[in-house]
């Protein structure tokens, strides 16, 4: 029940860290980075990333949310929302 709810910044930092292997340019990954367009993650890679984040934050992130997530910031918000609702 949100014992130690992660802060906005800590979730974002963890996600950016998990996305570093996909970095395609010198541009830093930020909340505004688009996961498919800028980092070229295909649908499978996005689903794999969700599994990693589920374990990192001990939370369920339904695949149903994938369609609504475009940016890194939206992904961070999805993780926080699920964590808050858990």
């Amino acid at each position: 029940m949100g014992m130690d709810a992660p802060t906005e910044d800590s979730v974002l930092a963890e996600i950016i860290n998990a996305l570093l292997p996909f970095k395609k340019s010198d541009e830093p990954i930020t909340a505004e980075t688009e996961i498919a367009r800028d980092l070229k993650l295909d649908s499978l890679a996005v689903m794999d990333l969700l599994m990693v984040l589920e374990d990192k934050f001990d939370v369920s992130i339904p695949l149903n949310m994938v369609a609504e997530i475009t940016t890194v910031g939206q992904l961070a918000k999805a993780v926080r929302d699920q964590k808050a609702g858990a």
């Binding site: 295909d42 649908s43 499978l44 689903m47 794999d48 969700l50 599994m51 589920e54 374990d55 001990d58 939370v59 369920s60 339904p62 695949l63 149903n64 858990a86």
Partner: protein, 410 residues
């Protein structure tokens, strides 16, 4: 933005693959000579990618049954079961399958894709949870999108990972349905069903097993992975297809659930599509009868699996880890795989080219499937052709006996 602009990247990728010399996704079979041979571009070709595991596409009984049914019932039903009615053979096939699996109920669908689409999207409703294996077939992923359940993905063939994800949902009130496949169509590995059954029982979840590639292949009588693992009684729902070992087309859902029949007026991919033509139903009934009368057909299939698997391994190819009638040859990269695929086709061997994202973990595969009707000579030709192409393209080392050399070095 134009209507087709978003396919730009796909078009470019497809173009690169076609540059190997032919379109692997648009092969034209000029003549089908038998269950294991065809004529392609004037060449006599061995079919080693057809999923025709028992070689029943030209079975004399199945052909005769289909022909008699055509004369008796006509070419098609011209509508769905709920609108145009069931023919007696639709009901008889459902009874045959229920008997074969030792379960109470069976629904037959028009394709295997629709069986998964209909079963999974209808069984799990709003507030329920679908837990699907990461390497699931497209029909399972599409079912998740069609339905209204919450979807969680677990690591491929990993019961401990499923356990962890189910534990996170322990306080959620919805039903949980776990979806796995018997044999996986790309790498040919199969689910550890005993362990999955233990996990689903621990969490009070349901288990659905798709036996598409394992029916007529695994288990003493051919019921599939669930029979092989001895968990028939613990699997709640079984789906499968007639387009692999049964040599035709169609799909099915089987269960002992007492309220099963309500699905016939709730399951949209069953309700709103034309039912199977009676000739298909008749050929499937004959093929199933043949399997039940002669399960030793599977012995020949597994001998052939050993021939192909051992032969390719000795050449030094990197294969899927579990042996079975799907033999997946790993190739480094889509372009190299496409070149190898085309080289094989030019040498009279047809296999499937399987590329990401249809394959797991971004791997490119030459996917071979073994048929009980393959002769040893045909399989040896396949092995030699693959060896030749593999050496030319540097996929395997140039010297002979590469497998032994490598095995000794490891």
């Amino acid at each position: 933005m134009g209507l087709f602009d978003r396919f730009q990247e796909l078009r470019a990728a497809h173009g690169q693959i076609k540059a190997c010399g032919a379109d692997p996704f648009g092969v034209k079979m000029d003549r089908i000579l038998s269950s294991t041979e065809a004529e392609i571009e004037g060449r006599h070709t061995i079919l080693c990618g057809s999923n025709n595991y028992l070689g029943l596409t030209f079975d004399a009984d199945s052909l005769a049954a289909a022909k008699a049914s055509l004369d008796k019932y006509g070419t098609g039903t011209t509508g769905s079961r709920i609108a145009n009615g069931s023919y007696d053979d639709h009901k008889a096939l459902e009874q045959d399958l229920a008997d074969f699996y030792g379960k109470q109920h069976c629904m037959v669908f028009t394709t295997g894709y629709q069986a998964n689409l209909g079963a999974i999207s209808t069984l799990a409703g709003p507030g329920d949870y679908l837990l699907v294996d990461a390497d699931s077939h497209a029909s399972i992923y599409d079912a998740c999108r069609l339905g209204h359940a919450t979807v969680i993905r677990f690591k491929h063939n990993d019961p401990a990972d499923l356990d962890k994800r189910l534990a996170r949902l322990a306080k959620e009130p919805g039903n949980k349905i776990v979806v796995v496949e018997g044999i996986y169509s790309m790498l040919g590995d199969h689910a550890p069903l005993k362990e999955f059954v233990a996990v689903k029982k621990k969490h009070g979840a349901y288990l659905l097993v798709d036996e598409a590639h394992s029916m007529g292949v695994m288990g003493k009588t051919g019921r599939g992975c669930l029979e092989h693992d001895g968990v028939d009684a613990d699997v709640d729902f079984i789906t499968g297809t007639f387009s692999k070992s049964m040599g035709a087309i169609g799909g099915f859902l089987i269960s002992d659930h007492p309220d099963f029949d309500i699905l016939r007026v709730a399951c949209r991919p069953y309700m709103f599509t034309a039912s199977l033509p009676p000739s298909i139903v008749a050929s499937v009934r004959a093929s199933l009868a043949r399997l039940r009368a002669e399960p030793e057909m599977m012995t020949r299939l597994w001998q052939n699996v050993d021939t192909l698997y051992d032969g390719l391994q000795a050449k030094g190819f990197r294969l899927g880890k579990q042996r079975g009638p799907v033999v997946a040859v790993h190739i480094n990269g889509p372009e190299l795989a496409a070149m190898a695929w085309h080289g094989l086709l030019s040498n009279g061997v047809y296999v499937n080219l399987a590329l990401p994202p249809a394959t797991p973990s971004g791997t490119a595969l030459l996917r071979c499937s073994v048929c009980a009707a393959h002769t040893t000579e045909q399989l040896e030709q396949v092995i030699e052709a693959l060896g030749e192409v593999g050496r030319q393209l540097g996929i395997i080392p140039a010297e002979d006996g590469a497998g032994q050399v490598r095995a000794a070095a490891e």
